[in-house]
Symmetry: C2
Subunit: 359 residues, 2 copies
Amino acid sequence: MIPDLLALTADLVAIPSVSHSEGALADYVESDLRARSGLRVERIGANVLARSELGRPSRVVLAGHLDTVPANDNATPRRQDDTLWGLGAADMKGGLAVMLELAAAREDPAVDVTFVFYACEEVGREHSGLLRIAAEAPDLLQGDAAILGEPTYARIEAGCQGVLKLAAELRGTRAHTARPWMGRNAIHRLAPLLEQVASYQARQPEIDGCRYRESLQAVLVRGGVAGNVVPDQATVMLNHRFAPDRDAATAEAALRDWLEPVLDPTLGDRLDVAEVSPAAAPSLGHPILAALLRTTGVPARAKLGWTDVAFFAERGIPAVNFGPGDPELAHSADERVDRHQLESAYSALWQLLTPTRSK
Amino acid sequence: MIPDLLALTADLVAIPSVSHSEGALADYVESDLRARSGLRVERIGANVLARSELGRPSRVVLAGHLDTVPANDNATPRRQDDTLWGLGAADMKGGLAVMLELAAAREDPAVDVTFVFYACEEVGREHSGLLRIAAEAPDLLQGDAAILGEPTYARIEAGCQGVLKLAAELRGTRAHTARPWMGRNAIHRLAPLLEQVASYQARQPEIDGCRYRESLQAVLVRGGVAGNVVPDQATVMLNHRFAPDRDAATAEAALRDWLEPVLDPTLGDRLDVAEVSPAAAPSLGHPILAALLRTTGVPARAKLGWTDVAFFAERGIPAVNFGPGDPELAHSADERVDRHQLESAYSALWQLLTPTRSK
């Protein structure tokens, strides 16, 4: 019998857990796991882990973040029929409810399972609860495959694209605007750079049947000295998403090649890496992830954004995104999840973990 | 006999007078005028005026600003041989020294003269001492012609170009950078706009023998929402200098025509006037200014920047820029003036005002 996942999600939404303030929700999760799961529970800061130690030949990690972005007039959960609205309903308290009910399920599983409830996923990566756990108790994160409960509409979103942020700085020479020919306008020099960025030919490689789609976007531009001065400096921040058939160094080299015609190092132009997050391969050939794919009954698709599957992939653990809820609604005022989504995700994971049904 | 203008300039440089802090220098100027000039002296805030009332058929206004930009390691005057270095040496305490010595000259002049020493020229126009005098005692600014003592290398720089600052705002549609095709990148849309700005075909009209040279420069650019968001907005501030054969409305209309192909009002793009300062015609046909031109012995050239000659021109008073010092050194750490410049400017103005020599 499937538990009332919508009611549990509503309880979780009712406990505020904006990033850096996950303590109350971590307390709730810890208590619930200690009371209902029969698993070994560990607490590290605002992170909670629960693991079976049955000596099974393989171990699956189910991971989900406790935090939400700040409220958007949607702090109070509101339920109508089989739909629940509220901050975090989709991203990802619905997924947390699925994890808690799976932890409480009494069937004898085919694999060992580690549940990871972690803090600070929605803020700068340096705050990530996963990084803290990895620093303090890396063994607790070991496993043969990982499933991240981010909202994916209860279908596998495989791997993730990497992110490379590059700061392009163009230089010029200051002059008075009444005598601009004495200088060189760095803002005017943005024109060919931005044209090159906008015309980037995005690769769309297919890996494990998933079509990735790279992108290159200018996300920030700054330049200028004063209202009467020909500016000698302008900066553009570029956000590049690269498919998992490339590592970050290859992606960076390709981008430098693409932008080389519109930069002039003799003027002092520079291209600096501001941030890099690796891509993660889909890994759908892994037996556990392949089994999950079969139980969902729908084809996997590529994850185009970056998620913590890359955290696990970097550590040699193949991982996929799989959870209830519409990813497009994440961070929106209209964020919601419905019972059918919760039950689809629960059922697929329950079949994966429980031998009598799925193997 | 020519007075020691270099020594007086050094005294003036030694009195700090950064914009909004001209009080001490105004006190010095007021005392000097009351002690030495025999003219009627008025004080309005940090502005000092001195006028003859001889009933001559025409009146010349000699105007100069008391303030300087902030110091650039050059607050203390330093003299070597016939050159004086220091903040304001060229812009324009050399000119003030010339004005003070002309006010103290005892010859019976051919014209009535009004000396205007005013505050806050180097900051936002709304602070201008000339505007304060115009508001409180407009009659004191009346005259048939005006000479502004800004540094011009002691040759006439005629009229001035107008300034039109336009804010161009481009719009787009936000999206996640992993799915940029869902949005429209407003920063990418800067490329054709900046290309159009950079390729502006500047007019170079000749007026009264002076060649003006228009310009269009992007001076500020801002855009972006967050590192992972396709931006929906980007703004460029444009600085346009237009020749005195155009009024501001004509210049604005021409600029709107030029930029029309790269703006899309249906997306919400806008072009807003941020600031407008009118141009001033060279007016070299006016008898007083023509006489000054003859005494300088060198051709006039066009003033490409904006100066307070436009203040007088707007009020129907033809005006030119004429003063000692190199305008290119204004606001630089190396600002300086030499005795020869001071004496050239003094002599030309003295000849203009004194009938026995020049008429």
